[in-house]
């Protein structure tokens, strides 16, 4: 026979077996408060850092970010001269640095410099004909990198709600807005999924080690892609459900807590990237 409210005894029971006495809590260890306040909020205070709350003000308007992305793609399309490419790449890296993404900025800068240098190699002069492959690949990568830079900037520094709001201001149809937002939300989960899959492969002894992926590229790709896609379908469904129950699909006006407006610096950024691009297309830079 149980009492009608056995929960009370359960709770006190749990305290004796799971919650350490306060005196034994080492300094620096998370504090367990069992009161009514923010019981679990300080639990991972040591792991979760305050995100830069003022990040919004230090980044450009989402519309400007999309414009930069467009400019990077135009560059690829018009096959601009090397000098233009370098100027543009530097211009694209500035907002990334201003947003505080130092590691990303440095990584991109180094990659860009290395690939540009590789592309400048003259295999004939060095007497190494196979280098043609390397320099051709390097040139291709250098041309793609600005797209990745602007893409990374747009997607890592913009909140989903700011994106939604700005796309709606641009009168983008809902049928485009919602999939775009789901995709943006999706990126971080792919990175996490990839790590999990690589761990699972290591445990099975499949393509493990630094060179494992390179040795059997096709097979490795299959082993990574299948679980990734299978998982993607469930994640996409969960996210859609979450979005629907929160009213993302509602007709009528939506607002945004994040202030979105074009400032002088946004116009400046757009003009700045258009100058070298325009000069190149006009044939001034060669």
């Amino acid at each position: 026979m149980q009492s009608s409210f056995p929960a009370k005894s359960v709770t006190s029971d749990s305290r004796t077996s799971f919650q350490p006495p306060a005196a034994a809590t080492a300094p620096g260890a998370p504090v367990f408060s069992d009161g009514a306040g923010g019981f679990s909020s300080d639990r991972t205070a040591d792991t979760a850092r305050l995100d830069r709350a003022d990040r919004v003000s230090r980044t450009l308007d989402p519309r400007t970010k999309l414009f930069l992305l467009l400019a990077a793609n135009l560059m690829l399309f018009f096959h601009v001269a090397l000098a233009t490419q370098i100027i543009m790449a530097i211009l694209f890296l500035i907002p990334l640095a201003v947003a505080g993404r130092w590691r990303l900025t440095v990584n991109f800068a180094v990659l860009y410099a290395v690939f540009t240098a590789l592309g400048l190699l003259d295999p004939e002069a060095l007497g190494l004909p196979w280098l043609h492959v390397v320099s051709a690949l390097a040139v291709g990568t250098t041309m793609m990198l600005p797209c990745f830079m602007t893409g990374a900037y747009a997607f890592t520094t913009t909140s989903a709600s700011a994106f939604i709001c700005s796309m709606r201001r641009m009168r983008v149809p809902e049928a485009v807005v919602i999939p775009c937002v789901v995709v943006i939300r999706f990126f971080p989960t792919i990175a996490e999924d990839y790590r999990q899959i690589r761990n699972a492969m290591a445990l099975r002894g499949i393509a493990s080690g630094g060179w494992g992926l390179v040795r059997h590229p096709a097979q490795s790709l299959e082993y990574i892609l299948i679980p990734l896609l299978m998982n993607a379908t469930t994640v996409a469904q969960d996210l859609s459900v979450a979005a629907l129950t929160k009213g993302l699909g509602r007709e009528g006006e939506h607002t945004s807590r994040t202030p979105i407006r074009m400032r002088a610096v946004d116009w400046l950024a757009m003009v700045a990237v258009m100058i070298p691009l325009g000069l190149d297309i006009a044939g001034v830079i060669r």
């Binding site: 026979m1 149980q2 009608s4 056995p6 929960a7 009370k8 005894s9 359960v10 029971d13 749990s14 004796t16 077996s17 799971f18 919650q19 350490p20 034994a24 080492a26 260890a29 998370p30 009514a36 923010g38 019981f39 679990s40 909020s41 300080d42 639990r43 991972t44 979760a48 850092r49 305050l50 995100d51 709350a53 909140s159 989903a160 999990q196 761990n199 699972a200 290591a202 445990l203 099975r204 499949i206 679980p227 998982n231 469930t234 994640v235 996210l239 459900v241 979450a242 979005a243 629907l244 129950t245 929160k246 009213g247 993302l248 509602r250 939506h254 607002t255 945004s256 807590r257 202030p259």
Partner: protein, 516 residues
Amino acid sequence: MMTSEVYSDNVSFTYEHADTPALMDIMLSIPRGQCVVLCGASGCGKTTYSRVVNGLVPQFFRGTFAGKQRTCGLDPSSTPIDQLTPLVGSVLQNPKTQYFNANVTDELAFPAENMGLPTSEINRRVDAVAERFGITGLLGRSIFHLSGGQKQRIAMAAANILDPRLVVLDEPTSNLDQTAIADMRKLIEAMKARGLTIAIAEHRLAWLNGVADRYVVFDGGRIARQYEADEFLTLSPGCIAAMGLRALDLGPYRRRIAELESQSDAQQGSSPRFDNRTTLAPALEQSRHDLKTVPGHRSPKPLLSTRNLVIGYRGRDGFTRHIPDLEFHPGDIIGLMGHNGCGKTTLVRTLTGLAKPLAGSITLNGRTAKPRDLTRAGFLVMQDVNYQLFSDSVREELMIGLDETDPTVLAQTNSVLEDLDLTQVADRHPMSLSGGQKQRVAIGSALMCGKELIILDEPTSGLDRYHMEQVGELLRRLAAQGRTILVVTHDEELAAGWCTRIINLERCRTDPACTA
């Protein structure tokens, strides 16, 4: 009917492409202000019913809907779902995928933004709801870095931002630890005190004792029976078990866990002994009896032992933890417990060689092991087992990396398939299997590679009693074959019923003797 927030009259539903109906002739009425628990075995229809209530069925999950449904006075089968949004808050099962924004404040504001509220009103509501749910300190943080419990708390707050009349929760605790569940209970109590109507589809029942007003037991898509809370709570544990439900009173399980924990502390490395003075619940008596009759498979020589191990990782969110010296013997089923964030995952990653220890050493079969050796000897069955299935068929999955023409490999494959009850599905695609079958395929692949240490990460999260017991039996079978089993779990029923030893990392970390 006027005072009913949820009213179903003969509701039936069949999912698209499904042969059998998920719900049949549901008659239910939930009066305003009541907290109702929808319970029953897996696939009984409780989650589907929760989706009917918040309009996801039939508007997002399509199929054939029949009957009459009213949620807060609206018909969710014909009103657009976004008209229900301000009236019905929803909390879903997976903490990882139910938030949409990277930032806590944005996430809380999201429903209000979608409703087109003015900015000042949104900010006022965000502050008020953060205050109510004790997450003011989390505002502005990145959600990706929060614990499962914190994420679920934010989901609760976000469901309340529009001041709904009804909140629907679908297995909200399936990924949570004991402390986070206790927090969840307080939140539900607070919501109830405000007069909200609450419907919870749930496997774990004990945490709702005293909060729930009514229990609705589903079985095979129908409502088997409804109980008032005081009637339900007096049902015998045997009766609850017969309905396929999880235990209502975790007291005996927790006592058993405490007992196992103190044994592991006192006699690291020696065989487990049972204290007959402790009285156990009838349900546990059986499993304890089984344990005693399992012949002594536990080998005296440890497979794996750690010495002065320090685990952790560096970087932005880095942490370090000293681990007391541990020994893992073949035949052991060791439960690894402690709340989220206490280092269980990192310890498991270190023991399987996926992460390097910061200091100390791990010995495998008497020899100091490098991470590479540990990866070869150990296997981890992930919580999300979908990540570790790579092939087109179960049989091929087991033979990855092995010579498929070798007769001994073929014979071994057949015996592993037989052993894990997978012969029937040997030629099916792993992704078409049930969760439990997928788990067994992953374990099978570990057996094929000759893994000696098998680690399972939360193998019973979101499982009903029957499936939880099935996992327990499987662990026991593997241990009896001489494998070493380590189970990372919050599930007290699994830990108490099937583990031979329990290590609580959380307790170790604050115990001065352990951090030496």
